[in-house]
Amino acid sequence: MSKMWKKYLLWFAQEHVEFRVSEIESLLSLLRIHMKYQEKPRDLQPYWVVEFSSEDDAKLLASRSVSLRTCLELWGHEPSLEKLHNTLHAKAEMLASYFPPNKSFKIEVETFCRHFTLQEKVEKIETFSYLPLQGEVNLKSPDIRLYYIEYYGTKALEPPELPYDVFFGRWVADGLRQLSKKLSLKTRKFIGNTSMDPQLSLLMANQAQIHDGDIVLDPFVGSGSLLVAAAQFGAYVFGSDIDYLMLHGRTKPSRIRQKKRENDESICANMQQYNLGHKYLDVLVNDFAMVFWKDSLEFDAVITDPPYGIREATERIGTEKEDCVVSDEHLATHVPAKIEYGIPSIYRDLLVFSAKHLRIGGRLVCWFPVFREDYTERCLPQHPCLKLVANSEQPLSKVTSRRLLTYEKIRQPSQSELEIRDISIQDFREKYFVLREETRKERRLREAAVRKENWEKYKENKK
C-alpha cells in the first residue's frame, strides 16, 4: 500500500532561531522519521511547510522538539484570505469527515507580527462560518482545535496592511515549550553563575540524540544543568568537575537575595526535584586533564560547556615549580596548586577523550567561543575520528559569539590519534583580554573618578 503523504505546518518559536534546522535534522535521524520539505526553510521565517506520511510521525517529532511551538495539519496556505476561503470551500466536503456532530471544536486566530483585538479576531473567525462544523463550540477543552494564522513578516515595527501568507489547519501537537518552563532556573534548587538555561540545555540533549537508557557524561558539569536535560530524555548521567566547592554546593550563592546556600543543594537534589533521581549515577571531583575512567568505558554521548576563562576559570592541577613535593605534615590539608588550562588544551583533551570514550555513532556536543570576525569553519577543533555534523552560532556580543558544535564518532582511533598533542585553535581568552585591556583600564579610572566625586559630595553634605 502506498503511503499517504499529507501537508503539515511546523510553527516555530522565534528564539534561538539558528538552532532550528540542526535540531530538527538531528531528531529526524534519531527518531527515524521521513519528512519532506515543501520549500527550503528560510532563515527568519517562523514556519515550514512539510510533509509526513503519517500523523504519528508529526506527533513524535513534536514530542521531542524544543524549537517547535505547534504542528498543524495544513488545509490551506494562500497569499490572501480570499484565496484561502476559495480553497477551503472547494475542500468543504472532504473536511466534513473531520467534524462529526459529537465532536466539539474551537477556532484559534494567531497573527504573527501584528496585534489585533479580541473583537477583530472574532470577526475573522466568523468569516469561516461556511465550514461544515456540526459539533458544539468548546473554548476550554475542545475535541478539535482549528487554527487560522496570519503572517505579517518579521519586521515588528513596520508590518504591512495585509498579511503575506495565511494558513488554516487542524492542531496536531505542541512542541516542548512547556518543559523549558518546568525546568526554569528560577525555581531550580541548585544553580551556579553559569548554569545553562533549560531551552539551550534541552537543545543540546537533542543534538546529542539522547535515547532512553543512554549513558551521558558532562566533564565540566558545574551545577549540572546539562545533566537535567539529558536525564529528562532518559539518559543515565555522570558528571565531573575540578571545583570541589561547586559539587558540594558550597560556593557563594548565585541568587541575588540568597545570603547562604542551603545545606542540601547539589546536582543530585536537582535531579530529585524533577523526579529524575533514578537517572543520576554520580558526580566526581576530577581534573579533566587526568583521566580516571577505565579504558573500556564507553559513553553514548558527551555534552558539555567547557569554561572559556572569562566567567569561569580555566584551571588544571599542576605547578611551575620543579621537583615540587608536598610534605607529609601538609598532606592532610593540602589544596592542590593549579595552573592555567588553556582553551587549546581543553578542547584537545575533550576531542581526544571523546574519540576514545564514545561509542561509534555517539555524539560530542559542546560550545566553542569565537571572535566573529576571525571565524571560519577551519578554526574549529578537529579530530580525525570525529565528524562535525552541526554547527550553530549564538551571538554573545558585537564581536564574540559561541558556537554549538556537534560531532559524531565515525571510527575507533589509532594509538597515534589518541596522542595528538597539538590542535591549532586560537586562544579565545588571550585575545579577549588583549582586546579589552585599554577599555578595562579606562573603565577603572572612570569608576574611581565617580567614587571620588561621591565621596567629596558626601563630605560637603556633612559640613
Binding site: H248, H278, V285, T319
Partner: protein
C-alpha cells in the same frame, strides 16, 4: 558513590601507576537507596561491568546477599538476576569513606557520596 561508578574508575593517571584497578574501598557510611528498576539498562550494562570487581566490592560492603559470583548465561531474560545486579550497581551507595589505589596506596576520600579524585601537583 554507586558501585557502578566504582567499577569504572582507575587510578592509572598517578605518576608511576600502571593499571590502578580495581580501587579498594574503605567505607564508614553505606546507605541503600531505592532506585527505579530498568531491566533494559541493566542488561546493556552487564557486558561493560567487570563482574568479579563488582562482586568483591559488594562483599566488602557487606551487602552481597544472594548476588551470584558469576553472570549467568542468558542473563537478559533472567529478571531475578537483573534485579540483583540492579541492586548492587545502583542501590548500594557509599556516602563516606575512601577509595585506595592498589599500587601506590594513595587514598581518595568520599564525602557526601562524592569521591574526590584530585591529585596533588607532585603526583602527576
Amino acid at each position: 558513590m554507586k558501585l557502578l561508578t566504582h567499577n569504572m574508575l582507575t587510578s592509572k593517571c598517578i605518576r608511576g601507576v600502571n593499571v590502578g584497578y580495581p580501587l579498594s574501598i574503605n567505607a564508614s557510611d553505606v546507605r541503600v537507596a531505592d532506585v527505579d528498576f530498568n531491566p533494559d539498562f541493566i542488561s546493556r550494562m552487564i557486558p561493560k561491568i567487570d563482574w568479579p570487581v563488582l562482586y568483591n566490592a559488594v562483599e566488602r560492603l557487606g551487602h552481597v546477599e544472594d548476588l551470584p559470583k558469576e553472570t549467568p548465561v542468558n542473563y537478559e531474560s533472567n529478571e531475578d538476576f537483573l534485579k540483583k545486579a540492579h541492586h548492587a550497581l545502583l542501590e548500594v551507595e557509599i556516602i563516606h569513606g575512601e577509595l585506595v589505589c592498589p599500587e601506590s596506596g594513595r587514598k581518595f576520600p568520599i564525602n557526601n557520596g562524592i569521591p574526590n579524585m584530585l591529585l596533588n601537583e607532585d603526583e602527576i
